[in-house]
Symmetry: C2
Subunit: 335 residues, 2 copies
């Protein structure tokens, strides 16, 4: 068995700006033997998420920085191929942070067994029924606390999280306005997902378009982006607005310190609440989210989209699509 | 009676940077006659507060901008000299936003009758038993939600609000670190008010001193200042920190747009909550605050300090002390 090869991407340099392939090293090693209590997982899918960029920096974020020379951290779905751990059986599908590699050995900590449900494609556990769905659900409902008739703005709205947030907003009776980076994305949001309006920030004057599409101001901002788009939103928030701070993708590749929003004082003037949100903190309540998301999916009120790239070797270049705006929906790599 | 003169400061120019006396015009007018339902108030004290600077700008804040040519808006305490309003009797002491002038006519809206209590000096109703005390009380307790053993940092700590916030923090069992702008202020905070430590931001490296005085990180930041001091605090916040956004005085005199905190992403990483706070929203609950503040005052657990400038003519220059850091405690003008 150990003759099998484990192909890996190791992080070997701190990226400056976008990831470059030269920030990684492609290594091929024998698949390791497992010890008592361990399991060997064959990774089938790798999740690419904006937050990965922060993990590659020198400084720790909400997780420790990936060390140079280590296999790049990443969310994975795989199948158990060997097990000396009573909680996992060969053939179980599992998700975890098993990294940019084909095989991983684990003691089971942080590994989630996925349900056997042939009606649900495995990649859904990286999207709607994984960290993405939970992010959208708890971020919007627990932190944003939408009320019927309120106006919700979502940035990076055609991304994995944003596209679900907007649909949940519609289910909860909000007016939903998405901000995205192409005409095609905007059409998808409005025509397929039922957003009330979408703003193409690459072509439109975001402030003017927000004014047009949010005639009653903005009650909730689900913020994935930061920077000038966030500033445009802040300028139009209502009294007691809630800002779900889920991501600041516009700054993730900056080489210099990035200033906070110029309209920061609006938080004071409008007695708004800005709250940082990381889905890890909610995974113990994930079933709550998946029950609702599943029922909305079944009843046709919720759609999701997976953008699948084939081949682990593509990961270092594919991930930049998250920052340049080339993908729609959840970006995954089929290993 | 109408032979009496009403001396006033009218705002005649939008200030650029600090207030200049030339932004105001000193006018002397006959004291107006009152009509049915009205009262004439003789203002005795004028409150000078950092927020006044924002009111003088062209743009509305949480209150409409003061119009050019109007008497400058300001909090006042005065005595009713004439009344044709059944709710007010001659001799009543009242507080309200009656402006930078000796006399004002009011229909009673927004005017609060002050209790007759010879043990309490009138200026206390501009401090501990007014908007200042309520700001400190509700801002810290409702938004900051301190828990025993937590670390509270207060900026502009020797100011009217900050000095009370820190003392309430001590009463609630927090470790309290103040940031202020002189050795004298720092000594007052530690020696007289019982702060655990005070940092002189004009002389010390704020980041290094915070690290020294907040060995367990920062759980609550009562933010009055913004700018580089706020950034130093944000860099050291703990998981689920609360930031009571009460003021951003470092930017009030800026002629150019002021960037938000460079460490804005810390709010996300630490799942912190930033909430804007304006005391107006809490004045209907003011009795709650004054009951506790009064009992702490009586039992010697709370001190306050009034910095009194004599003469209405001083107002345009005295107010700049709030921004240059020359006053300690609550700044008032004895009219």
């Amino acid at each position: 068995m150990t003759a099998r090869q484990n192909r890996q991407w190791r992080l070997t340099a701190r990226p400056v700006g976008l990831f470059k392939e030269s920030d990684f090293k492609w290594t091929v090693e024998p698949v390791p033997e497992i010890g008592d209590g361990q399991l060997l997982v064959h990774n089938l899918y790798l999740s690419l998420d904006p937050t990965n960029r922060g993990w590659a920096n020198e400084a720790d974020t909400y997780l420790p920085a990936v060390k140079l020379g280590d296999v790049m951290r990443g969310g994975t779905i795989g199948v158990v191929e060997e097990s000396r751990n009573p909680d996992f059986a060969v053939g179980d599908h599992v998700s975890g942070l098993l990294g940019w590699q084909e095989y991983a050995v684990s003691n089971g900590a942080g590994i989630t067994k996925l349900p056997h449900n042939p009606a649900i494609p495995l990649t859904a556990y990286m999207g709607l029924f994984g960290h993405i769905g939970a992010t959208a659900y708890f971020g919007l409902l627990d932190i944003g606390r939408p009320k019927e008739g309120e106006t919700l703005v979502v940035s990076a709205a055609a991304g994995a999280v944003g596209s679900i947030v907007g649909q949940i907003g519609k289910i909860k009776g909000c007016r939903v306005v998405g901000i995205a980076g192409s005409e095609q994305k905007c059409r998808w949001l409005v025509d397929d997902l039922g957003f009330d309006a979408a703003i193409d920030y690459k072509k439109e004057d975001v402030s003017a378009s927000l004014k047009q599409h949010c005639p009653n101001g903005i009650d909730i901002d689900f913020e994935n982006v930061g920077g000038r788009i966030f500033d445009a939103v802040l300028a139009q928030i209502n009294l007691r607005a809630r800002i779900v701070l889920c991501g600041l993708i516009s700054g993730y590749n900056a080489a210099e310190p990035v200033p906070g929003p110029y309209n920061f004082a609006m938080i004071l003037i409008k007695r708004a609440r800005v709250e940082g949100f990381i889905v890890m903190d909610y995974m113990n309540r994930a079933e709550e989210a998946f029950r609702d998301l599943g029922s909305w999916l079944m009843s046709g009120r919720l759609k999701y989209r997976v953008d699948e790239v084939v081949g682990l070797e593509q990961a270092p270049t594919a991930i930049n699509g998250l920052f340049t705006g080339s993908n729609i929906g959840k970006l995954v790599v089929k290993i």
